[in-house]
């Protein structure tokens, strides 16, 4: 079990060289559609008297675009892409990989708990930019893209008819009916035995120190006046500097350190 955080340095040791290539968005989208083993095209490296020319040719099947709209059949992705080579100078670029935790099968932990394995794959020796060869096709593609992008995210649309389906006048709303039914079921709050109420209060105050009167009413299900009387006995009303007026137990009833309270 490798320690989390240990970087596997084999790539660095071997000094594996890699290329960093900047690829246009549409091309990466096409590549995502690749089938099978993932072949996307061919890379041709031409050495002409010291100068290297690199170019990439997209596979035929990947040139169809899934654009929205009518023009999809007309426009295709260009196939030829010469690479513009650049030097790496000014920065030392290394490539490291991270294994997503859920899939590392070396660990026994469940998904999300296994540590990531970090490995250094190699150093970048060449930077390149993949440019499409300028063609009529490409221009059309670009036009499409620009049209899509220039559409605003929100737009206003005029409606022919007013919307009448949302709110209809009702004798009594469904929500109100439910509410009244609920209230009826509960009935008026009856005064329970004082001792019982006290017990309930004390257990509530065990959990929190400050309570709103409404919350206490909810908890104890007692009428407000009765509850207030009881509270006046055992508790103090607290303005506390905040807006809410809260009730808390009197100091002699409090014992918060160990979350117990003395009676």
């Amino acid at each position: 079990m490798s320690d989390k955080g240990d970087v596997d340095l084999t790539g660095a040791k071997q000094n594996t060289g890699v290329w960093l290539v900047k690829v246009p968005k549409y091309l990466s989208q096409q590549w995502a559609k690749a089938t099978g083993r993932g072949e996307v095209g061919k890379l041709r490296i031409c050495k002409n008297q010291g100068k290297a020319e690199v170019s990439f040719t997209l596979n035929e099947e990947l040139t169809t675009l899934d654009t929205v709209g009518q023009k999809s059949s007309m426009v295709r992705a260009p196939r030829e892409h010469p690479f513009t080579l650049q030097t790496v100078g000014g920065q030392t670029l290394a490539v490291f990989t991270e294994n997503s935790s859920g899939q590392s099968d070396a660990e026994t932990g469940g998904s999300g708990t296994g540590p990531d394995k970090i490995a250094l794959e190699g150093m970048v020796v060449q930077r390149a930019e993949c440019r499409p060869a300028v063609s009529e096709n490409y221009m059309r593609l670009k036009k499409l893209q620009i049209e899509e992008l220039s559409k605003p995210l929100r737009f206003s649309q005029q409606l022919d008819k007013a919307v009448t389906t949302n709110y209809k006048p009702v004798a009594n709303h469904a929500y109100n009916l439910d509410y009244e039914k609920k209230k009826k079921e509960e009935g008026k709050r009856a005064r329970a035995d004082k001792q019982q109420v006290l017990d309930m209060l004390f257990s509530a105050f065990e959990k929190h120190q400050y309570y709103n009167i409404k919350d206490l009413v909810d908890i104890t299900k007692q009428p407000v006046i009765y509850l207030k009387e009881i509270l006046r006995d055992i508790g103090i009303y607290n303005v506390k500097g905040t807006h809410k007026n809260t009730w808390e137990l009197k100091p002699e009833y409090r014992h918060y350190q160990n979350e117990e309270k003395s009676d």
């Binding site: 989390k4 955080g5 240990d6 970087v7 340095l9 660095a12 060289g17 890699v18 290329w19 960093l20 290539v21 900047k22 690829v23 590549w31 690749a34 083993r37 993932g38 072949e39 996307v40 095209g41 061919k42 890379l43 041709r44 490296i45 031409c46 050495k47 002409n48 010291g50 290297a52 000014g90 920065q91 030392t92 670029l93 290394a94 490539v95 490291f96 990989t97 991270e98 294994n99 997503s100 899939q103 590392s104 970090i118 794959e121 190699g122 150093m123 970048v124 060449q126 509530a204 959990k207 929190h208 120190q209 400050y210 309570y211 709103n212 919350d215 809410k244 409090r254 918060y256 979350e259």
Partner: protein, 567 residues
């Protein structure tokens, strides 16, 4: 063969090691002909490779970018650890206050949430993905890097990593994110506040090496008690002196060292020995006293105009005196901690060592609160160096006495009373009733000091006893000896100054007194020892004699005895 050469040239031109692999394949004719085609021609060769974008790979590729200037070479790494820097979690995560127990409200969380929604406060989530990396190379002793995620990398274009696979095809992996790694400093650096301070002092501080040293020592001191300060101060002094010796950059240090050599034999030795021994004891005691005194002092003195005019301020009282801005320039310098130029420093050298020491210690503590330790320490060290200075270069010890008596708790009232009693008896009634002992010590001791001036040859027990013990230990032998010596000195109106800036003559004194009423302190201030070349003792005595001759009028202004002449 020819091809091979060309390929090697090709390699050199591009420096791409992957090509080397690739072309070796070609030459050795390994089984990848299906993958690559090689077209030969006389001056160029073309090879084709299949590009694959592997699917369902669990590995996410990221870029680790270093600045070329950092000279990072991954091949030199033997071992590396990398983890996410989670230190921002508490900012983004909700601070969970303790549930239940005291102080909690029922439904507080919901209310807080509702409140946030109402005001539209949106707190950003803490995404582990976006957190910086901490990379540690080669273990504890190696370098550390912090990698910050670079935004906007994958927005408009995608980066792919093309690697050569075993079968000669290229595999392209998309880059998930880009991290810029910067090395982290292992040496100690200044914080922003400290840096600002140092920037403000950049023209004055010559010895830049000491900046970090002081900062470190300051940190140590803060964590320790007062007692230790003296020792550290001593250590600092030694260190600083050592450094001064090594670097010899600072003029002032040279000055101080030399001046310490110049001191009288006896005094010097005494001073050195005592200074070192005392540093622990004295500052310790003084430290405690000072703290109390400062607080006392705050309520003690009114900041009346003219109150502090002639007052030789003890360095302990810096807080109050520096706040009141009626101080004379020199005093102000003493009180002022921050920029003290070399000139100012040499001026303040004139002040008594005791006061210097006290200033240092007092300043030390006061400055701790102020946080302006560095300048103070620089000066303190210098002053400690100057503690070896001879007494002769000090101002009148009366000033010191008075001030020290003023601010030290260890006043000896009975003795003072005795002194005053004798003074009172010998004095004519022109002096108003001697204030009680409990009065503000200022008037007491000043009067006592003035008495001494008047008399000119009183026994030295008074001044020595008037001075609090700790402070005046050093001074004790000297006042006694020197004042004993001074009595048989010829009472001449003229002193024998070596430097002739200011002569302590009767005429000079007369001029001053005609111009405006002055206290003894003021007068002494006018005839600074450095200018007249006299020792403080001598100055005092000569001045006393002059005053006796002049017999000026006495006026009590603000409870202080002022002399003046009308002519």
């Amino acid at each position: 063969m020819r091809q091979q050469t060309k390929e090697e040239e090709f390699l050199d031109a591009n420096g791409a090691s992957c090509f080397r692999l690739l072309l070796n394949f070609v030459i050795n004719g390994t089984s990848c002909s299906a993958v690559m085609t090689s077209l030969g021609s006389s001056s160029s060769s073309t090879t084709e490779y299949v590009v694959r974008v592997p699917k369902n790979t669990s590995k996410k590729y990221n870029i680790m970018a270093f600045n070329a200037g950092d000279k990072v070479s991954c091949s030199t790494w033997t071992q590396a650890r990398m983890e996410r820097d989670m230190s921002n979690r508490r900012i983004y995560g909700e601070e969970e206050t303790q549930e239940g127990a005291a102080g909690s409200e029922f439904g507080k969380k919901q209310r807080e949430e509702a409140r946030r929604k109402k005001y539209g406060i949106v707190t950003k989530e803490f995404k582990v993905e976006d957190q910086p990396w901490i990379l540690k190379v080669n273990g504890k002793a190696g370098r550390r890097f912090k990698g910050l995620k670079k935004g906007g990398v994958t927005e408009n274009a995608s980066y792919y990593i093309f690697t050569q696979s075993a079968d000669g095809a290229f595999e392209a992996f998309p880059v998930h994110s880009w991290y810029n790694f910067t090395p982290q400093a292992k040496h100690r650096t200044l914080t922003a506040e400290e840096a600002e301070e140092e920037w403000g002092r950049r023209n004055k501080v010559v010895n830049h090496f000491s900046i970090m040293l002081q900062r470190r020592l300051r940190g140590q001191e803060r964590g320790e008690e007062e007692e230790e300060e003296g020792e550290k101060g001593g250590k600092k002094k030694k260190k600083k002196e050592g450094r001064g010796g090594d670097l010899r950059i600072h003029d002032l240090e040279d000055d101080l060292e030399m001046s310490s050599d110049e001191s009288d034999g006896s005094n010097g030795d005494d001073d050195e020995a005592k200074s070192k021994a005392k540093k622990e004891k004295g500052p310790k005691g003084k430290g405690k006293k000072k703290k109390k005194k400062d607080s006392d002092l705050e309520g003690f003195e009114d900041s009346d105009d003219g109150d502090f005019e002639g007052l030789e301020v003890d360095y302990m009282s810096d807080e109050s005196s520096s706040e009141e801005e009626q101080q004379e320039k020199t005093k102000h310098n003493k009180g002022e901690d921050v920029p003290k130029g070399i000139d100012e420093m040499s001026e303040s050298e004139e002040e008594s060592e005791e006061e210097n020491k006290n200033e240092e210690d007092g300043k030390e503590e006061e400055e701790e609160e102020d946080g302006k330790k560095t300048p103070v320490q620089v000066e303190k060290k210098k002053k400690k160096d100057s503690s070896g200075e001879s007494d002769s270069s000090e101002d009148s010890d009366i000033e010191g006495e008075a001030a020290s008596a003023l601010f030290m708790k260890k006043r000896t009232p009975p003795k003072r009373g005795g002194g005053r009693g004798s003074a009172g008896s010998s004095r004519t009634g022109s002096r108003p009733g001697t204030p009680s002992i409990d009065n503000a010590a200022t008037s007491n001791t000043l009067r006592a000091a003035a008495n001494k001036l008047e008399q000119g040859k009183r026994q030295t027990t008074v001044p020595s006893t008037e001075t609090p013990a700790a402070k005046r230990l050093k001074m004790e032998p000297s006042p006694q000896s020197s004042s004993g010596k001074s009595t048989p000195q010829p009472v001449s109106g003229k002193s024998t100054p070596s430097s002739s800036d200011v002569l302590l003559t009767e005429d000079a004194v007369r001029r001053y007194l005609i111009r405006k009423p002055m206290t003894t302190k003021d007068l002494l201030k006018k005839f600074q020892t450095k200018r007249t070349g006299l020792s403080s003792e001598q100055t005092v005595n000569v001045l006393a004699q002059i005053l006796k001759r002049l017999n000026p009028e006495r006026k009590n202004i603000n409870d202080k005895m002022h002399f003046y002449l009308t002519e």
